[in-house]
Amino acid sequence: MSDANFEKFKTCAVEVLQVDESAVVPDARFADDLDADSLDLVELVMALEESFDITVEENELEGVETIGQAYELVTSKL
């Protein structure tokens, strides 16, 4: 896991989800641990798309429930 990329990812998550930096860990679940609703997730995707200059399709988000899974999806596109 590249530190620089994860830091960038974390910045987006902290800003959009309004959570503490320490909560953004690979195992954290969006709904249960980070209290994120569906609109929060859409916002996070939009922020990540902009920050990493990538495009995420709707169907790629299926089954993405944790920070780790989302980070993996982002890095798979770099």
Partner: protein
Amino acid sequence: MSDDRRVVVVTGASRGIGAACAEAFARQGDQVIGLSRSGAGPGEDIEHWAVDLTDPAAVDAAFDAIEAAHGRLDVLVANAGITKDQLTVRMSDDDFTSVLDTNLTASFRVMKRALKKMIRQRSGRIVVVSSIGAYMGLPGQANYAASKAGLVGMARAMAREVASRSITINVVAPGLIATDMTSSLGEERLAQAAQQVPAGRLGEPHEVADVVTFLASAQASYVTGAVVAIDGGLGMGL
């Protein structure tokens, strides 16, 4: 130029209800950008841009430019609309779909684009201009009625999606308002129609704008998903 005035975008601002709304916001001291096919319109302090709202790339470019120039988007009035009246059995598919494209699909497009910005800001006001025709279903207006009724459901779906972000989306349903659109009915039919209005007269565009500016104000923070009739009582009970 950056300042703390609200940034207001009005579609269909070249004339009629849209022009009246643009002028009303400008009078309040808001920065107003009017989007219309012609790019014409009243008001020295209103920026009028020519944009074909049925062209997704043109809409994106316009909103990119607005966001670059002003940094924020506080209010959207989705007002642009056309009529192509014809009795159903004589109405072509093109007449139907082109009215839907301009009145409903283009509204979806600008609202979606505005919401992306407003969600991030965690604030915003959208006012959609529907019509009494949405629920009266006047003869010759199968296309127009479908588009204006569609706006109500669409606005309410969106209102639910973004209500938690301090964004409100409301609909106004004007009745017979004295604009170019209604004057195409002809003087005789208009006079006849005015007799059906409890208020006994046509409405003026500024009377619609007064309600729109209220719904877009801080005072209307707990009003969302509402359909407000502005029709002199014509639609009572519908």
